[in-house]
Symmetry: C2
Subunit: 346 residues, 2 copies
């Protein structure tokens, strides 16, 4: 196959956002698609994962990975198809996961495979969008954050915020399978109903139901206190959960979506001294640290998807050009399930 | 010995403070001293430990131990002498450690021994005031907070705030013995000089030297970042240290003296997401959890005091009646070394 007639539409970071990203922060470019480098592969993007962490990558300054540079194609993980290959390990038609970036095509030289996280994926284990959800980065984040930092024990009570999101789905369902009482926190009754009825959580608190909804909900649904809190949101919800933790509780700091678009300083947890009173722990997690064990979590959770003990929900938006608008839905909470940008049908 | 002519002067909590405790929060009472109960002991207070944690005990509400009730003798740990005994395990003249309370005498029935933490102490291992410092509660807090939560490894950099205080002295010296680079944070040049010259810390930052003193000091004295931060103060200093932590850092939350007299909410650490970026941990410690291992830490540190690898400094105020004024010196930082209230000479 030749690629000379293909055009690669791309979305690049044009400027660093102040607060919520706007159209002005993005720049659309087109490039001709070059064939694969010697020994390399040419990939076609099928779907991209849209994640809260992307907001952090748009900021200047040191973090767990370097920021996206101005003018660079926006970083995004995704799944796609090999459309040309000069590498014996990949054949045309293979489905792969990689750091595609927000663009239609990606050419990788063999020296880039590792950096891009290029791996073949097996659609027998899960659907394409599940590979961006439970079997992808959010699933790995939830699984290892829960297991390694949360350390769930049967009979303990786990609370997870962003319960209907990609990480939250995974955390709550795996914790249920491990024998925990699981209480979600999500925005809106529809998400709460789904989390309880479809995912089997014991309860779910709608934080939008009123100013004391979280406090009252925790009191009602966590009568024995909170042993593990998996935090995706930060802010007031983190502070409220801190008032209900048990002795020896573990708080997994996975994210703080409520704070990512702040134009004022991050709201620190004013109740952090509850960690002292309760000999509790607050610990951060970055998924990349577990890369050498992803395959184990994938195998385990693919089994749960197959036997019906886990299910998943993805919220799919179509069209590369809709990336900017789709991304903001994460921060307004409009997405219902793991947010996926479908770039091509196949 | 009979006790019928002895009078027990006591200081009781009269009202709960708002902000810094004042004279109006205290009430002085006198009671005749009763002889020991059947099988019990009568103790004479020699010296009391004045600690930042006392401020927390004066507040209403759930904590790691119940608050001091209004009208109750103020809680305080101390050392004293057995002046009458009907218990075979204690003889007149024995020196003991116990929860004396802020009073001159304490009568304990055998059923109270455990609750009061009554144990004989050996003045061959350390002086009376060292038994309230390195060999007492602050020493145990520092030792176990460092070893169990901080988990120091040779070559790591440890920062400790309240470095010249009772807990800070212990933490820094034990960490030095464990092979860490140790940087203190203390208020004033005199304390900093003492910590470096007498205790052998690698450096000490005077947080009162200017608004950027801590930031600049950490940059200068922790060129490889911070692996362990033992926090006694909270507030801005905690937030500044959070910007300098290394991957996998441990932050031991021992106290937050900067916040104890707040009349506004506690200042939460706005840089707590540094825990995420650095896969770091913030964990609370309460000394009582380690009671069954105190003897091991006492034996180890008594050895260091003897062979000169550790030293200690106590700031001794005399007279039970000076308790209220002495306590406030903790919060203004006027004390230099572990603050002790000497109640009787022997």
């Amino acid at each position: 196959m030749t690629s000379e007639h293909l055009t690669n539409h791309q979305i690049r970071l044009a400027s660093r956002p102040v607060g919520l990203p706007t159209a002005a922060n993005w720049q659309t470019t087109t490039e001709p698609v070059a064939g694969p480098a010697a020994g390399g592969v040419l990939l076609k993007t099928l779907a991209l994962s849209l994640d809260p962490a992307m907001r952090g990558w748009m900021n200047e300054g040191k973090s767990y990975i370097p920021p996206v540079a101005l003018g660079e194609v926006m970083r995004a993980g995704g799944v796609g198809r090999v459309i040309a290959s000069e590498h014996p390990g990949f054949g045309v038609g293979d489905v792969v996961s990689a750091g595609f970036g927000v663009q239609q095509y990606l050419s990788l030289a063999p020296s880039d495979f590792k950096r891009a996280g290029l791996v073949k994926i097996d659609l027998g284990l899960g659907t394409l969008t599940q590979w961006l959800n439970v079997l992808g980065m959010p699933g790995m984040t939830g699984y290892f954050g829960l297991m390694d930092v949360g350390q769930p024990k049967a009979g303990e009570t786990l609370v997870v915020s962003g319960a209907a999101g990609a990480v939250g789905q995974t955390v709550g369902q795996v914790a249920k399978i491990r024998g925990c009482r699981v209480v979600g926190i999500a925005g809106g009754q529809a998400k709460c109903d789904w989390v309880v009825k479809e995912l089997g959580f014991d309860a779910c608190i709608d934080y939008k139901a009123g100013p004391s909804a979280v406090r009252d909900g925790l009191k009602a649904h966590c009568p024995s206190g909170v042993d593990i809190y998996f935090d995706n949101v930060g802010g007031d919800i983190l502070d409220t959960v801190l008032t209900r933790i048990n002795r020896g509780a573990r708080i997994v700091i996975c994210g703080a979506i409520s704070q990512y678009n702040n134009t004022t300083p991050v709201q620190g947890p004013k109740n952090y001294l509850s960690l002292l009173v309760n000999r509790a722990r607050m610990e951060g997690i970055v998924v990349f640290d577990y890369a050498d064990r992803y395959h184990l979590a994938v195998a385990e959770m693919a089994g749960y998807l197959k036997d019906g003990r886990m299910s998943s929900r993805e919220d799919v938006v179509s069209g590369l050009e809709n990336f900017p608008a789709a991304l903001t839905r994460l921060f307004t909470g409009e997405n219902f399930g793991k947010l996926v940008l479908q770039v091509a049908a196949d």
